[in-house]
C-alpha cells in the first residue's frame, strides 16, 4: 500500500505489483464463433488490455454473445492528477440528524419538495422524501424531526413559493428529471429568483435542487445552495440539511473518505 502511495503512479493489481491485470465482461451483438472471440480480443486491445484472454464466451439467443475477458492493462494512473469533489459535510445517521435538529431548532425542521415546470417525474423527489426511500436508506419522511411536505409533480413556481411561506419551510427541495432544451436550468434559475423576490434578503429557505442532468458545481450560477446529482441518497440530503441549518453536531468530524463509498444509513464505525 505505502509503496503505491510513494510512487504516485499505479496500475491495476492482480496478484503481483505492476501486473496490470483487469477483468471485464461485455456483450457483442454477434453469434458465438471464432470470429466473435477475435472481435472480443480486438475490443479488449482497444481498451488497453494486451495481452488479453477470453476466458468465457456464451451465446445468448441467436444474435448475442457474452464474454468475460482478462488482460493486462497498459494504462497508468497518476494519483496526483486525480480530481474529486469532496463532500463538504459529514454523513450522519438518521438519529444524529434528529438529535442535531432537536438541539439547535427545538422544533421540527420543515422540508418541502416538488418537481417544478412540466416535469411529471417524481422518481427523484420520491426517492429522497418518501419513506420507502432509495438505495437501502429511508426517505426524509422517516426522520422523526423532519416535517416533510411532498407537493408532487408539475408544481408552479408561485405555488411553490406560497407553500414555502405558508408552511414556514426551512428548506425547499426541487427535482428535475426529464428535461428538454436545458429547461431544468431555466426552471431552477426562475425558481431561485422567485424566492429571492418573495423573501427579505438573507431569509430565504435553503434551496436544494437535484437531478441527473445538473452539474454539481453550478449551484452559485443557478442561485441555489446545493445541487445533488444522480446517486444521491436520502441520508446525504438529510446530513446536508443538518449541516446547513443546525449548529455543528457534536462528535468528531471525520475527514471524508477518499473514495465515495456507498454509505448505509448507519454510520460506519470509526477505525
Amino acid at each position: 500500500m505505502s509503496k503505491h502511495l510513494e510512487s504516485h503512479i499505479i496500475r491495476p493489481y492482480g496478484d503481483a505489483t505492476g501486473d496490470g491485470q483487469v477483468q471485464v465482461s461485455f456483450t457483442l451483438p454477434v453469434a458465438h464463433d471464432k470470429r466473435a472471440e477475435g472481435a472480443a480480443l480486438q475490443l479488449a486491445a482497444k481498451m488497453g488490455l494486451e495481452p488479453a484472454m477470453v476466458v468465457h464466451a456464451k451465446q445468448m439467443g441467436p444474435h448475442f454473445t457474452f464474454f468475460v475477458v482478462y488482460g493486462r492493462c497498459s494504462h497508468l494512473v497518476d494519483l496526483d492528477k486525480v480530481v474529486v469533489m469532496e463532500r463538504e459535510f459529514p454523513l450522519l445517521a438518521p438519529k444524529e440528524v434528529s438529535a442535531a435538529v432537536k438541539r439547535s431548532l427545538r422544533r421540527p425542521l420543515v422540508v418541502i419538495g416538488a418537481c417544478i415546470g412540466t416535469d411529471a417525474h417524481t422518481v427523484g423527489i420520491d426517492a429522497i422524501l418518501n419513506i420507502k426511500g432509495w438505495a437501502g436508506e429511508k426517505g426524509l419522511e422517516a426522520y422523526s424531526d423532519l416535517e416533510v411536505h411532498n407537493l408532487g409533480a408539475q408544481v408552479s413556481v408561485p405555488d411553490l413559493v406560497e407553500h414555502a411561506q405558508n408552511l414556514k419551510a426551512d428548506a425547499v427541495l426541487v427535482s428535475q428529471v426529464v428535461t428538454q432544451r436545458e429547461a431544468h436550468l431555466h426552471n431552477v434559475t426562475q425558481m431561485s429568483a422567485a424566492f429571492r423576490e418573495a423573501y427579505p434578503a438573507g431569509t430565504t429557505p435553503v434551496l436544494i435542487v437535484g437531478g441527473p442532468r445538473f452539474d454539481e458545481s453550478a449551484a452559485a450560477e443557478l442561485g441555489v445552495d446545493r445541487i445533488f446529482v444522480k446517486g444521491t441518497t436520502p441520508g446525504e440530503v438529510a446530513s446536508y440539511l443538518a449541516h446547513r441549518l443546525c449548529a455543528t453536531p457534536a462528535g468528531p468530524r471525520r475527514p471524508s473518505a477518499n473514495k465515495k463509498a456507498k454509505q448505509k444509513t448507519k454510520r460506519a464505525g470509526v477505525r
Partner: protein, 530 residues
C-alpha cells in the same frame, strides 16, 4: 401434492383460524365503506366497460369528460350510469362517444332521472355494462383455451420485467424474455402514472423507467405474447399494474384485453404513494371484483414493507398484510388460486442465521396460504453494486424459493441497484434460476425442519406477532391504524392524501350497473359452491 398435506411448521389450526378471523374483523368496516362510496375512477370504469374509449385531441379521455360533466350537473353521489343513459335516451346520440364529445363541448345537461325514466336508464346501462362483462368472460375462456392448447408452464413461473418506455421496443424484448425462459412478462409502468387521474390513450413510445399502461399498449403486448406462446408451446402470461388513482379503470382494461396478472395491493397506494385511504379501498374493491371475474391473478405488494422496514423486525407486518389482502380479495370474489400474495427475501445478509430466518418466513407464508400462488420477490435492499455478492444472494433466494415451493418467482438481477437489466444480466439471472431449480428439484420433499427447531419456533413467533398486531388494528380500527402510522411508520389519515376529492358517498338513488352485475355473479357463484 406434498405441500398441501400435513404442515411442516406444526401451526395450530386454532391459531391460524384466529388470525383469519381478526383479519376479517379488521377488514369488515372497510368493506362497508367501500360498498357505500364511489369514486370518479369507479364511474369511469363503468363507462369503459360499456365501451366508451378514446380521448379528445388534447389526450383527455372521453370517460373523464363525461364523468366530470355529470359531476358538475348532478354530483357524483348518484353514480353516472342513470344520468348518462337517461341522456342517451333523451338525446340524439349515435353512441357514447358522440355523447361524450357533446358533453365535452358543454352542450349536454345531465339530470338524475326519476320514475320510469330511471327504470329505463337503469336497464339500458345494465345492458351496456353486461356487454363489457361478456367480453371479459370471453377473454377468460380464451385464456383457458390457450393454456390447454399451448400448455401451462410448470411452477414456479419465472417472472421477468420489461421496461423500455416504448411499447414497440417492449414487444420484441418481451418476446426475447419469453424465449429466454420467462413464463410471465411484467411491463413496468412509467414513473408517476399511479398519480395520474386519467388513463393515457393509444400506443405510447415515451415513458420514464417504464411504459404507460394504456388499453392499446395492453392489446399490442398481449398479441405479441400470444405469438410467442404459440411459437414456444407454452402460454406466456402478461402482468401490469392496477394501482394508483385509476385502479378500477386499469383493472377493467386488463379484463378487456386479457391480461393475466395484475399488481393490486390493498394498502400500497395509501402508504407509498400517499393516495387517500378511502379512495384506495373503494377503488380496490371494484378492481378486485373485475379481476375475479376476469380470472386475473392479483399480485400483492408485501415486499415493499420490507424495503422500508427491517426484514426481521417487520416480518409479521408481511403476514398481517397477506391476511388482510386475502380477506379483501376473497370478499371481492377472488378465489385462492387468484391470490398471488407477496413476500420477499430482504433480511440483511450479515444477520446471523439470516438464511434460516428467510426459510422460516417463506415457509410460514406457504403454510398459511397453501393454495395461493405465492409471489416470491428477490433481494433489493441489500443489493449493493457488488454484482458478485449479489449473484450469490440471488442464488440463496432461488434456493429458498425451491425449498418452500413458491409459485411465482421474480427473477433477481445481479445489477439490481446499478441499472435496469442488460441482456447479459437477464441471461446470467436465468442461469442462476435454472441451476438452482434443476439441481434442487424435489428438495421441498426432503426439507422438513426439525420438530420444535429454530425454523418452527421462528414461524410461530412471527405468526404470534402478526396476531398481536391484528388485535391492535381491530381495537383501533384499520383506518385509524393507518392514520397513526402502524404500517411502515407512515401516517396516512383518512381525510388527507391524493384523490380524496374524487370520492363521494352514495346517495339513496346511487346506481352502478357493473357493481350490481358483479355482486349478482359472485352471490351466484357462492350459492353454487354451497
Amino acid at each position: 401434492m406434498t405441500r398441501r398435506g400435513k404442515g411442516k411448521l406444526e401451526l395450530d389450526p386454532a391459531v391460524v383460524r384466529k388470525a383469519r378471523s381478526l383479519a376479517r374483523k379488521a377488514g369488515k368496516p372497510i368493506v362497508t365503506l367501500a360498498k357505500t362510496h364511489t369514486t370518479v375512477s369507479v364511474e369511469r370504469a363503468v363507462l369503459r366497460l360499456a365501451g366508451l374509449s378514446g380521448a379528445d385531441p388534447e389526450g383527455e379521455p372521453w370517460v373523464n369528460h363525461v364523468v366530470d360533466a355529470v359531476r358538475q350537473d348532478v354530483g357524483l353521489e348518484h353514480g353516472v350510469a342513470l344520468p348518462v343513459w337517461h341522456a342517451m335516451a333523451s338525446g340524439d346520440y349515435a353512441d357514447l362517444t358522440k355523447l361524450a364529445q357533446r358533453a365535452a363541448a358543454g352542450s349536454v345537461i345531465f339530470h338524475a332521472p326519476e320514475g320510469r325514466d330511471a327504470t329505463r336508464a337503469r336497464s339500458a346501462s345494465r345492458k351496456a355494462a353486461a356487454a363489457g362483462l361478456r367480453k371479459i368472460d370471453n377473454n377468460r375462456k380464451t385464456r383457458d383455451r390457450f393454456t390447454k392448447k399451448y400448455g401451462d408452464p410448470p411452477k414456479p413461473w419465472i417472472y421477468l420485467i420489461v421496461a423500455t418506455g416504448d411499447i414497440y421496443e417492449d414487444m420484441p424484448q418481451a418476446q426475447a424474455a419469453a424465449r429466454e425462459g420467462a413464463d410471465i412478462v411484467a411491463v413496468i409502468r412509467s414513473t408517476g402514472q399511479s398519480l395520474l387521474d386519467f388513463v393515457p390513450e393509444g400506443p405510447t413510445r415515451e415513458g420514464y423507467a417504464g411504459t404507460y399502461a394504456t388499453q392499446e399498449n395492453f392489446r399490442l403486448m398481449r398479441s405479441a405474447l400470444d405469438d410467442v406462446s404459440a411459437e414456444l408451446g407454452r402460454y406466456v402470461r402478461l402482468t401490469n399494474y392496477a394501482s394508483g388513482l385509476c385502479m378500477p379503470e386499469i383493472a377493467t382494461l386488463a379484463g378487456l384485453e386479457r391480461l393475466d396478472m395484475m399488481l393490486n395491493d390493498s394498502m400500497y397506494g395509501i402508504l407509498f404513494r400517499d393516495i387517500n385511504p378511502i379512495r384506495t379501498f373503494v377503488d380496490q374493491r371494484f378492481s378486485r371484483q373485475i379481476h375475479a371475474r376476469a380470472g386475473i391473478i392479483i399480485n400483492t405488494g408485501e415486499d415493499n414493507y420490507l424495503t422500508t422496514a427491517d426484514g426481521v423486525e417487520a416480518a409479521h407486518t408481511v403476514t398481517v398484510s397477506q391476511l388482510l389482502n386475502e380477506f379483501f380479495g376473497k370478499e371481492a370474489g377472488l378465489t385462492d388460486d387468484q391470490l398471488g400474495l407477496g413476500h420477499a427475501f430482504e433480511i440483511n445478509p450479515t444477520v446471523p442465521e439470516s438464511f434460516r430466518l428467510e426459510l422460516a418466513h417463506a415457509l410460514l407464508a406457504r403454510e398459511l396460504f397453501p393454495n395461493a400462488p405465492l409471489k416470491w420477490m428477490p433481494p433489493t435492499k441489500h443489493m449493493t453494486g457488488d454484482v458478485f455478492g449479489g449473484y450469490l444472494l440471488n442464488g440463496f433466494f432461488n434456493l429458498v424459493g425451491s425449498m418452500t415451493d413458491q409459485d411465482i418467482l421474480l427473477v433477481g438481477m445481479l445489477t439490481e441497484a446499478v441499472h435496469t437489466p442488460w441482456l447479459s444480466d437477464r441471461d446470467l439471472a436465468l442461469q442462476n434460476v435454472r441451476y438452482v431449480m434443476e439441481s434442487t428439484r424435489g428438495l421441498a420433499e426432503d426439507f422438513v425442519p426439525a420438530h420444535d427447531g429454530f425454523i418452527v419456533q421462528r414461524s410461530h413467533q412471527v405468526l404470534g406477532e402478526a396476531i398481536d398486531l391484528l388485535e391492535r388494528i381491530v381495537d383501533d380500527q384499520l383506518l385509524n391504524a393507518i392514520a397513526d402510522g402502524t404500517f411502515g411508520l407512515m401516517k396516512r389519515p383518512a381525510d388527507a392524501g391524493r384523490g380524496l376529492d374524487g370520492v363521494a358517498k352514495h346517495s339513496s338513488s346511487y346506481y352502478n350497473p357493473a357493481s350490481e352485475l358483479l355482486d349478482e355473479y359472485f352471490a351466484d357463484a357462492k350459492g353454487h359452491a354451497r
